[in-house]
């Protein structure tokens, strides 16, 4: 399947793009992260410490165990600092 993967804040800066299309057969967010880490150092660096990251699947906050079958967009970002 092809996913839209989006990055925000320092995750975006480390990976160097704001979004990209990714072909993957990953069943969960964590499996997708493993695939990305294996690609290039910039991904390995961005995903070094998952406890410092948050994830949303189709714009819903979730966790790294979440399934992504049928999802259209996965977003990675640091803890939010709104308000």
């Amino acid at each position: 399947m092809t996913l839209n993967v989006v990055y925000f804040a320092w995750v975006r800066e480390r990976i160097g793009v704001a979004q990209e299309r990714i072909d993957t057969d990953a069943a969960t967010v964590a499996a997708l992260v493993d695939e990305l880490r294996a690609r290039e150092d910039r991904y390995a660096l961005a995903f070094e410490d998952l406890s410092a990251l948050r994830v949303a699947v189709d714009q819903q906050l979730t966790d790294f165990d979440a399934p992504i079958a049928g999802a259209r967009e996965v977003a990675f970002f640091p803890p939010m600092t709104g308000g």
Binding site: E73, P78, G82, G83
Partner: protein, 152 residues
Amino acid sequence: MCVRVQADPFDFGAECDAFASGRHHVGAVVTFCGIVRDDGGLQAMEIEHYPAMTAPAIEAMVAEARTRWSLADALVIHRHGRLTPGERIMMVATAAPHRADAFAAADFLMDYLKSRAPFWKKEITTAGAHWVEARSEDETALARWSDETARR
């Protein structure tokens, strides 16, 4: 109910006035305004957000607040983009028959907006730029609404 996410400034006074107007069954209006605070050396704040998620996430927070308290109305405005010290970043307003509901709902919305709405702040200072880190106090504040946390 109204949620606005925008780059443009908003007029806090005019919004407060309009929000409190024409209400006969509301006894209490609470508003909150967040301002870019200069802790020394801050030149600008850049706020990034996740356009596809921001408004729906805030609308879900407002809907949750309405299930918890007796609210007549609520308003959230949040800016993104570049702001300078003294500029108004965001506001929340709640209207309720009784003051306890208006206060609790505004406080709740602020805690959720702070830690669960998809905004990220970057501070541009004379010493360089850095992303603002989430504070543990903000998670502690969120934990006060623990029924909600358990329900999610």
